[in-house]
């Protein structure tokens, strides 16, 4: 007993890490791939790079998908929608580090550098750090952006090959972060160009201090920030891959905020008086895509009947353990253009069975593909497939569940003659409905990201018109109409949108859950 007490006293004296008053510790879920956001695509990387260290010409307002001025004070589109002129902010300072001290403020050269290295294959930085510029490529920017021109030191003009309204939102995305051309030149001269990725210099609210792989990232407050400085002196990412351990660290006061709690821990967290649990619908959708080119799934009434056979509330309870909400539209409710007037197909197995019989469908056998990976929009695809299998059995449809390794799954599910309906989902990139509706349901997406292989001209006309319009009200109306067409044609069973939970110490003030999924600590303080 005496030994136990002595040991306890000794250990207690040694322990007791308390984050310093002005330090915010975030228990992040993984390591960043690097610190140059244009090189990578993972949200974890963007949390550690583009959000604290960099700015973009335009920014997403934290907590919304609204696009607001960033390093550009204003942007003006030409009448034909082909030219966008950005007026840049003056007096913006880049960070410095041991090897670099900027001699000038941010200007048009930095904008040209940040984009041309991604676009121009002959640019000296195009191949640095194995640059594949995945996001720039996947958003179709190489073909869309015809030229980028420096009008003067504080004016840049982008010329597009075709009118495309989502371009504005694209400019607020992480790949569009602005790097220092002067730093790039200095590192190229020093023979260490890869330092752009490993020792980042930006204009953001925090400057990079140090990174120990898989352990910790340290940032300092950027006192010269062009907006009001951040509220904490130091920001630390304590990399903690296991969700249960993150929870224990939060309880022990070893970190202030953690992402991605285990669904099973959520109730306990809500009950804990020391933890403030914030939540918001995620900008994502999980769906079951039929192959609309193959009978009987080429018949919208059959698809509609199958949708009515799925008990989505049971899926939310069992698969999401409550951390999700039923999806009725192919875009999430936090996105502008969401048509809330649409009424979801009611769960009605009897009516579904009758509809199938009316369409001459009897003893239908089909495959349902279950993803082998976990995603926020589908935390357990196998379980979801089993529930759908049971639901379909009630209407006389015999389901065989199939699955493949993730790479194979993605590859085979794109085939035009694919056998079966595929469980998959999507997380939004830029808060624009085009990023869901055109990418996932447009005719160009067939044999690619359009897993339903669905091409329906009335829908296509609406989304093409919306893409080319620069009038937001007009675009909203067009997307609302497109959702009506979608619901009527039912190329997917829309299953769920996840709910994003962010548990944090109740000492944390000012945090906003960002609908685009990023974790942003500018404006956050610790008591």
């Amino acid at each position: 007993m005496k030994f136990t007490m002595l040991a306890a006293t000794a250990v207690a004296a040694l322990t007791g890490f308390a984050a310093q008053a002005n330090t915010l510790v975030y228990c992040s879920e993984g390591s960043p791939e690097g610190f140059d956001p244009a090189l990578f695509t993972a949200g974890t990387t963007f949390d550690a790079s583009s959000h604290p260290i960099y700015n973009r010409l335009l920014e997403f307002e934290t907590g919304t998908t609204n696009v607001v001025p960033g390093l550009a004070e204003s942007v003006e589109a030409s009448d034909d929608g082909l030219e966008y002129t950005f007026k840049l902010r003056q007096g913006v300072k880049f960070h410095s580090n041991d090897e670099f001290t900027p001699t000038r403020d941010f200007n048009a050269d930095d904008v040209i550098f940040s984009f041309m290295r991604q676009k121009d294959e002959t640019h000296p930085y195009n191949q640095v750090s194995g640059g594949t510029w995945e996001y720039f490529q996947s958003m179709g920017m190489p073909d869309l952006v015809e030229s980028i021109e420096k009008v003067d030191d504080y004016t840049v003009k982008f010329t597009l090959s075709k009118p495309e309204a989502p371009f504005v939102a694209n400019m607020a995305m992480d790949f569009a972060s602005i790097l220092s051309a002067e730093y790039a030149d200095a590192m190229m001269t020093a023979g260490t160009p890869e330092k752009l990725n490993t020792a980042p210099i930006g204009t953001g609210p925090f400057s990079f201090l140090a990174y120990q792989k898989d352990a910790v990232i340290r940032y300092a407050n950027n006192g010269d920030y062009w907006k009001a400085p951040a509220d904490v002196d130091n920001l630390i990412f304590a990399i903690t891959p296991d969700a249960s351990v993150r929870y224990q660290k939060l309880k022990a006061g070893e970190c202030h905020i953690m992402p991605y709690p285990n669904p099973a821990d959520i109730q306990a967290m809500k009950d804990d008086a020391d933890i403030n649990m914030m939540e918001q619908e995620g900008l994502n959708v999980g769906y079951l895509a039929y192959n609309t080119t193959i009978a009987p799934f080429d018949n919208p009434k059959v698809r509609k009947a199958l949708n009515m056979a799925i008990d989505k509330n049971a899926i939310i309870d069992v698969v999401f353990q409550g951390s999700g909400q039923v999806a009725k539209n192919p875009i999430p409710p936090t996105m502008w253009g969401y048509n809330d007037a649409i009424v979801d197909d009611a769960y009605d197995p009897e009516a579904a069975k009758a509809m199938l019989e009316a369409e001459g469908v009897k003893d239908l056998k089909m495959k349902v593909w279950a993803m082998p990976v976990q995603r926020p929009y589908n935390p357990n695809a196998r379980r979801m497939a089993e529930l759908i299998q049971a639901d379909y059995a009630k209407v006389g449809v015999d389901v065989e569940i199939v699955s493949y390794e993730w790479g194979e799954y993605l590859s085979r599910s794109k085939d035009l003659d694919r056998d079966g309906a595929v469980l998959l989902g999507w997380t939004g990139d830029n808060g624009d409905p085009d990023n869901f509706l055109a990418v996932l349901l447009g005719c160009d997406g067939r044999e690619a990201s359009n897993r339903a292989q669905w091409c329906h001209q009335p829908f296509e006309d609406l989304i093409l018109e919306a893409k080319q319009s620069t009038d937001q009200a007009e675009r909203t109306r067009l997307y609302e109409d497109a959702q009506v067409v979608f619901k009527d044609q039912a190329p997917w069973a829309t299953i769920a949108h996840s709910v994003v939970y962010m548990p944090m110490s109740n000492k944390v003030q000012g945090y906003k859950v960002h609908p685009l999924g990023g974790h942003i600590f500018y404006g956050v303080s610790v008591e």
């Binding site: 510790v25 890869e194 792989k213 910790v216 304590a238 903690t240 224990q248 660290k249």
Partner: protein
């Protein structure tokens, strides 16, 4: 002894070549195209896919790819990670000291507790102490690492608050890495309390990682000791009137050590495998988690390079074990 060492070293080269081939083939026989996995749900155009195939060298025949890999190894180049775009070599050596430090501590923990436990159990064969120790060893051996780690964290870090939950040192200590070994770097930093913090962070991961080798060593020591204790020369020693401590500690244990050292050598592989889970749970920045992530991402260069390096380390440790046999038992090196 030198000839014995050279003969053991000679076996190293074909094994090394075999390992390069296995590490190269292992990741390629798994289904899953790294480019498609990289693109994820977003996908990519066929044209872009072909560009990536060329960029990553997958358009070359497999034998040519293997040859490039082999010649790279000979020049000390293990390639660059597809994901982080950094040299595999740099990543490995940035992370390996953390794994090595943890593995050494776990092994010391296992040997320091396992050897005496095995000896005491053998000497007290059939008694309560023997049964209790061997039952505990069986439980330790069978316990899932993941569960064991979480249990210790919840009890000692969460409920009692005696140990930190995870990491290598408290975040308020900040100093540059000199050796990569936190115990040494914290001492070199001169910051008050840093070393104690590093030690405290090592306690739970060491116990978790050392539990299985501890159980194996204790059981192996017990059975080897029991065998030796029945030998004639032990009876002679007893008849000579030597003290039980001298008989058990010197005569019996030394001869019982050969199989125990074999087990310790083999445990290095177990430790590196166990490190994968231990590192993930304790957010320990070592090579275990790095390798697992790379397998899921189909990051060929990291998986190939990491496997090769781990295999070389296991081979080196086993070479050392072979040499130790020769030192402990001269009959072996004369064979």
């Amino acid at each position: 002894m030198f000839g014995y060492f050279i003969s053991r070293l000679g076996m190293f080269i074909p094994t090394f070549l075999g390992v390069t081939l296995i590490s190269f083939m292992f990741i390629r026989v798994l289904p899953g195209d790294p480019i498609i996995v990289m693109a994820g749900e977003r996908g990519m155009t066929e044209e872009r896919y072909q560009e990536m195939v060329e960029k990553l060298g997958f358009d070359k025949p497999v034998l040519r790819q293997y040859w490039d890999y082999l010649t790279g190894i000979m020049q000390g180049d293990l390639g660059e990670s597809f994901v982080t775009k950094k040299p595999v070599w740099d990543e490995f050596f940035a992370l390996f000291p953390a794994t090595l430090e943890l593995s050494i501590c776990a092994m010391i923990f296992a040997v320091v507790l396992g050897l005496p436990a095995g000896v005491i159990a053998a000497v007290n064969r059939g008694k309560f102490f023997d049964r209790a120790l061997m039952s505990s060893a069986l439980v330790g051996y069978s316990m899932p690492i993941f569960w064991w780690a979480l249990l210790l964290i919840i009890v000692f870090s969460g409920n009692l608050g005696w140990t930190p939950v995870s990491g290598r040192i408290d975040l308020l200590y900040y100093f540059p890495s000199v050796t990569g070994f936190m115990l040494i770097d914290s001492l070199l930093s001169g910051q008050a309390g840093a070393f104690q913090s590093a030690v405290r962070h090592l306690i739970l991961p060491t116990i978790v990682l050392g539990t299985i080798p501890l159980a194996v060593i204790a059981r192996q020591t017990r059975s080897a000791m029991l065998e030796v204790l029945g030998e004639d020369y032990i009876r002679t020693a007893r008849a000579k009137g030597l003290s039980p401590t001298r008989i058990n500690g010197l005569h019996a244990l030394r001869n019982a050590l050969i199989p125990v050292i074999t087990v310790i050598g083999l445990s290095v592989g177990t430790l590196l495998a166990g490190a994968i889970l231990t590192e993930t749970i304790f957010s320990w920045p070592g090579i275990g988690k790095w390798m697992v992530d790379s397998i899921f991402r189909r990051d060929y260069p990291v998986v190939q390079g990491g496997l090769l390096m781990i295999a070389v380390i296991v081979m080196l440790v086993n070479l050392l074990v072979d040499v130790l046999y020769g030192i402990i038992n001269p009959k072996i090196r004369r064979r």
